[in-house]
Amino acid sequence: MSRAENIALAAASLRKVSAVRAAEIAFWLAALAAFALLPDQALLLSEVTITGLFALSLDLVLGYGGIVSLGHAAFFGAGAYAAGLLTKMGVTDPLLGLALSAAATALLGFVTSFLVLRGSDLTRIMVTLAVAVLLKEIANRIPGITGGADGLQGVAPGPVLGIWEFDIFGQVGFGYSLAVTFVLFLIARRFVVSPFGWSIRAVKENQLRTSAIGIPVSRRLIVVYTLAAAYAGTAGALLAQTTQFVSLDVLEFHRSANLMLMLVIGGTGYLYGGLIGALLFKLVQDAIANITPEYWEFWIGLLLVILVLIGRDRIEAIPRALLRRLRGATP
């Protein structure tokens, strides 16, 4: 083949990496439809969306950077408290509060990223866990600021863009969370297919080779960890603003652990894994909790075991695999 043809081929296959797929458009249209058609589910869907954004942020760290974290709630919680406190201090504009909370958690992510750079997966699990535990204990010990075990009460953000007041049915909260999540998703999607984002995948694939082609590995990991912290902080801030309350629960270990489960369910490294995983997890949790309020954790656990036994493919691959089997069975 001629050089010109090869160049055209190469350009086409690289472009395909960042091309928008039909399923993606369908996904976001479905989200929009849920907002328009399911107003009575707004509270649950708002929680799903916020958790989805939170899981997306862990995907950036785990699925792209290859950093295993069991303490991602540290940033979620920090963002929630930042947003709550800012509102109480008079910064009532939700978007401004969101931006400031994101900046604060980004700073926290930047500082703690240096701890995460050291050591292997196991060390990272312990270090991230420790940071989250420390933050929770700090929040518990300064009730004068955080409200301690009683939580931060009286968080009353103003209307979104000065127009939409948060309502008790959560409709505005859901729309607001969805819009913020969508914008942040678009930014993340653009980021991961940029040369910079690609170099972060390279770090996960092979650190030695990445540094051998002259890419500074540590600096790349610091950037992605900081960015993910800001995303997690934004998710926490959304929760604080839409529920108008912050409790120690935002820093609890189960948040970090469940987040990991959601990514296991949804799959890592394609950004939708967190969103889909959060949706399935929360819906199943909600459904099971309605049936057996006491034992829902058992059923969730059983479901996970089955999922892992069946295969750890990405959730998006399951319909295709089923189709293949059906076709294979009836030739």
Binding site: M1, R3, N6, I7, L9, A10, A11, S13, L14, R15, V17, S18, R190, F191, V193, S194, P195, F196, G197, W198, S199, R201, A202, E205, N206, L208, R209, S211, A212, I213, G214, I215, P216
Partner: protein
């Protein structure tokens, strides 16, 4: 003319062990230089010193006359000192095109861009295709690296290094583990290296060394035993002793 790569009295101790002992080497620009030596001679330590993985206990390293003894690993790559690995260090989930494309982006200083899409810069595409064509990887450029035959992976290992735009290339046993049937491909790959790139080849395969290199250095117990043309080295009794066993023992 300044040497492309020059070490002066390079020394590295690990506790009481001297792994690299007073090594002074000089590679002219465009040289095809081989470094041979028995197992444990300190070849890997020397590569690690040159690439900045280890810091020397004393001595200096110069690249095109500039002192790089204390430069960081990525800085050395930027300055044009690039290596390959004895055991493949590739990105299993990337295609060769994506792998080479990343290295070309880095060379052009585009790797810090967070907003452009990969493949949007024609210079990256053209640069990548040039390298892939040169090493006969164009037919497999869109297959995941993990699924390539071993010989192709070895070629990709060299291709990535060339994509970094090296002035000096350190080849660490490029033929290691390559089955007989795919050796020809590696030889072709080595022959396809740009003439202006200075190459230091570390290799056990004497056949490959004598075919490729015009000068050879022999490293024994961390120190240079001798340096000369291929025929000089082949004829030297000390080299024979090292490789074939000392006469007094056999």
């Amino acid at each position: 003319m300044t040497a492309a790569l020059e070490t002066t009295n390079l020394l590295r101790r690990f506790g009481g062990l001297v792994a690299t002992n007073d090594v002074s080497m000089c590679l002219a620009r465009g040289a095809r230089h081989a470094l041979i030596g028995p197992n444990g001679a300190g070849k890997t330590t020397l590569i690690n010193l040159l690439t900045g993985v280890l810091a020397p206990s004393s001595g200096t390293i110069r690249l095109d006359g500039a002192d790089i003894t204390t430069a960081s690993r990525s800085r050395r790559v930027e300055l044009g000192l690039v290596r390959t690995f004895q055991i493949n260090q590739l990105f299993p989930g990337f295609t060769p095109l994506q792998t080479v494309g990343l290295a070309v982006s880095r060379r052009l200083g585009l790797d810090r861009n967070m907003w452009r899409r990969i493949g949007s810069d024609p210079r990256v595409i053209e640069g990548s295709v040039d390298v892939l064509e040169r090493f006969d990887l164009i037919d497999v450029m869109n297959r995941p690296t993990a699924t390539l035959p071993y010989g192709k992976q070895r070629l990709l290992e060299i291709a990535v290094a060339i994509a970094c735009g090296p002035r000096v290339l350190l080849l660490d046993e490029p033929a290691a583990g390559v089955p007989e049937g795919e050796r020809g491909e590696i030889m072709d790959g080595l022959a396809a290296l740009p003439a202006d790139v200075t190459v230091l080849l570390i290799e056990h395969d004497m056949d490959l060394v004598f075919r490729f290199a015009d000068r050879i250095s022999v490293l024994v117990s961390g120190a240079l035993l001798l340096e000369g043309t291929a025929s000089e080295v082949a004829a030297d009794p000390r080299v024979r002793a090292v490789y074939l066993g000392d006469a007094s023992h056999g």
